[in-house]
């Protein structure tokens, strides 16, 4: 990992998404502008009064701006607590943003939480990490998959709804007859297929996938990843893929955003992130991944841990772990800017060409 941004060949220049080809980029499907989400984690009122404590806010997501274009897969990676799952929940409307604007196909998604957001809700769906917790154990698989069809009144005829559920199940590699069964009769990988079938039931354009394969064994993970790629090609889906597994992200994503303590520190197309990572944190993450080709080799892991998000470091939050930090990094928060080697990076050292 010694690739210097300055010495890069032009072939690694940004080819951001399928949109860049015709010169003028079409409007993005999903557009986040300075989105933030704070959680109030204060002690109860009486304790605050007695112990003279103030309110405490956890800045889970703190000013995030990015776009997702139709047909592409954007992956967000980062360690636990970096805010990637919060972004997923903000986009589908499970949380309301504290600040900023999220648009889907030009519409403000704050209506998602209201009755008026129903048509919008149909167009974006979510797949969760834990296939054991996200399926109702008392419902048959047929009812689970048919629920979005019924909720959005996509098909009126009762028999036709069940036919459609069977069709969806066979689409994700299960049998139509599995409609009669209950979730406990399926393995983890099969359950995740059921979750995907349910997400597809409302004919969405956009799927938010929050660690969809993290709970699965590698061979099952390969099956689910292959299925997701096939479905994307057939149904022209757009994915936001959240994961902490860089190898999985490398396999599935077109563009990658790297998050650290509620902010995106680097956002670039896949080849730039994996071939010529620029931000010191991205480099550290990539260095830390155990690789099959590393047999017997030893390396020096980066010291330190992710700081407590309740009390983040000043300036660039990565500065206590960063080998390139200087005084400016300790005081001034770096903004996401166009990087010399393509993509966007939030780092003073890169801006000043110190690294």
């Amino acid at each position: 990992m010694s690739a210097l941004p300055a010495g890069l060949s032009p072939s690694a220049a940004p080819a951001s998404g399928p949109a860049a080809a015709d010169g003028r980029a079409p409007a993005p499907l999903v557009d986040l502008t300075d989105v933030a989400k704070y959680f109030d984690v204060s002690a109860p009122w009486l304790n605050r009064v007695l112990e003279r404590q103030g309110r405490r806010l956890l800045h889970a997501v703190d000013g995030v701006t990015f776009q997702i274009h139709a047909g592409e897969t954007l992956a967000l990676v980062g360690e636990s607590g970096c805010g990637k799952s919060t972004i997923a929940r903000l986009i589908v409307g499970l949380y309301a943003p504290t600040r900023g604007m999220i648009r889907f196909d030009g519409q403000d998604t704050s209506i998602l939480r209201a009755a008026a957001g129903r048509t919008l809700r149909r167009r974006l769906q979510m797949i969760f990490q834990d296939p054991y917790a996200s399926l109702n154990p008392r419902w048959t698989v047929g009812d689970i998959v048919a629920e979005p069809i019924r909720a959005h009144e996509l098909i009126q005829d009762k028999a036709a709804v069940l036919d459609r559920a069977g069709e969806l199940l066979s689409h994700v590699g299960l049998a139509a007859a599995d409609r009669e069964k209950y979730p406990h009769q399926f393995s983890g990988g099969q359950r995740q297929r059921i979750s995907i079938a349910r997400a597809l039931a409302s004919n969405p354009e956009f799927l938010v996938c929050d660690e969809p394969t993290s709970a699965l064994d590698v061979s099952v993970q390969a099956q689910v990843l292959n299925l997701m790629k096939d479905l994307q090609r057939e149904l022209k889906l757009t994915y936001l893929f959240i994961s902490h597994n860089l190898a999985v992200v490398h396999h599935i994503a077109d563009r990658v955003g790297v998050m650290y303590l509620g902010r995106i520190v680097e956002l670039a197309d896949k080849r730039t992130i994996f071939g010529a990572p620029q931000h010191p944190y991205t480099r550290m993450l990539l260095d830390a991944v155990p690789d099959l080709n590393m047999t017997g080799k030893s390396r020096t892991p980066v010291a330190g841990e992710v700081p407590n998000p309740l009390n983040p470091p000043s300036g660039c939050t990565f500065h206590p772990r960063c080998p390139h930090a200087n005084e400016r990094c300790k005081t001034e928060i770096p903004l996401l800017k166009q990087a010399p080697a393509g993509g966007e990076v939030a780092c003073h050292a890169i801006e000043e060409r110190r690294i």
């Binding site: 597994n245 080799k297 992710v306």
Partner: protein
């Protein structure tokens, strides 16, 4: 049929181990005829999907099988002496003293009511002839060697005051406290973030090299095995299907299951449109097919695989339980 290990007499030898669970609907065999050996100072990786029997093999060795699970056949030998038939009291003396354990979730291995120092000192005093003062001094040194800053003060802290990565360091210190000959590490880095995972692996490797401690590293993460282990055993449906030097098993796998497993791991370096995929799923314990347990999913299956169960056969530098290599 013991295997030869590089470097003389094995420290741990497992012979034809069988673990079963009697249930009302019949007996389930979770670990079936598993044999392997670990040499002093060697790291043996054990990989497999959930339910393959890798954790149960580890639990059987340290005598921590949850009833009704039981060792139905086979032997476990530590330094040449059987330990699988010892009374619970004698086994308790071996655990901690000769065999240390590291589990996935560090919170469950630490007592929340005692400071980490007290837990370390207690472990040492139980197993070693050591004074309280000397034990405290050694506890501080151990915490320091695992990379915990200000160990002098941290020794007074309770588990909840440590972060996940720091807790796993305490667990490693605890496992090494009585200088065991063997450590059984069951998914020691699975609950940790990648950057912390790399630190813990490097630490485990360094400490075991220094103390010449052998490690049985149970994990589903092939990358961790690749970096840490000397040899690797691949388990499927309760049996070892392939065992050999780690680089050979990863780069030149001989068993079709290992081939599929390696192909299904996404790479950080090469780009592929589709991952190799093994169709189907591992059979449940009550429905293990006749012959080779992998035969319904195997692309190279032939008649013999459906009727006769293969044992490990030497193939080049590894051993694989596959009839393809018997011809």
């Amino acid at each position: 049929m013991a295997q030869t290990t590089p470097g003389g007499a094995p420290l741990l030898e497992v012979r034809n181990l069988k673990v079963e669970f009697p249930t009302r609907r019949g007996t389930l065999v979770a670990v079936d005829d598993v044999s392997f050996a670990i040499a002093p100072g060697e790291v043996l990786g054990v990989v497999g999907e959930s339910g393959a029997g890798k954790s149960l093999t580890g639990a059987a060795i340290i005598g921590l099988l949850e009833p009704p699970g039981r060792i139905a056949a086979g032997q476990v030998l530590l330094e040449g002496a059987r330990i699988d038939n010892l009374p619970p009291e004698a086994m308790r003396k071996i655990r901690g003293r000769k065999i240390g354990a590291i589990f996935q979730d560090p919170l469950t291995s630490l007592n929340p009511l005692y400071s980490v120092g007290r837990q370390l000192i207690e472990t040492m005093q139980t197993h070693l002839d050591i004074s309280a003062g000397a034990a405290k001094q050694r506890a501080i040194e151990l915490l320091q060697s695992t990379g915990i800053q200000a160990a002098q003060q941290r020794i007074e802290h309770y588990p909840h005051q440590f972060s996940g990565g720091m807790r796993q360091r305490v667990v490693i210190a605890l496992a090494l406290a009585a200088e065991p000959k063997l450590i059984i590490a069951d998914e020691p880095t699975t609950a940790l973030d990648v950057s912390i995972q790399a630190q813990i692996i490097a630490l485990l490797k360094k400490l075991c090299r220094e103390h010449r401690t052998a490690v049985m590293l149970v994990t589903h993460d092939m990358g961790v095995i690749a970096e840490t282990a000397d040899r690797v055993a691949v388990m499927y449906a309760g049996r070892i299907v392939e065992i050999g030097p780690v680089a050979d098993v990863i780069h030149r796998p001989e068993h079709p299951y290992t081939v599929g497993l390696m192909g299904s791991i996404p790479s950080l370096v090469t780009e592929t449109e589709r991952l190799a995929q093994i169709d189907g799923a591992m059979p449940r314990l009550n429905a293990i097919p006749a012959g080779c347990a992998f035969n319904p999913r195997c692309t190279r299956v032939f008649e013999r695989c459906r009727s006769e169960r293969p044992n490990l056969i030497p193939v080049n530098t590894t051993q694989a339980a596959c009839w393809l290599h018997a011809r």
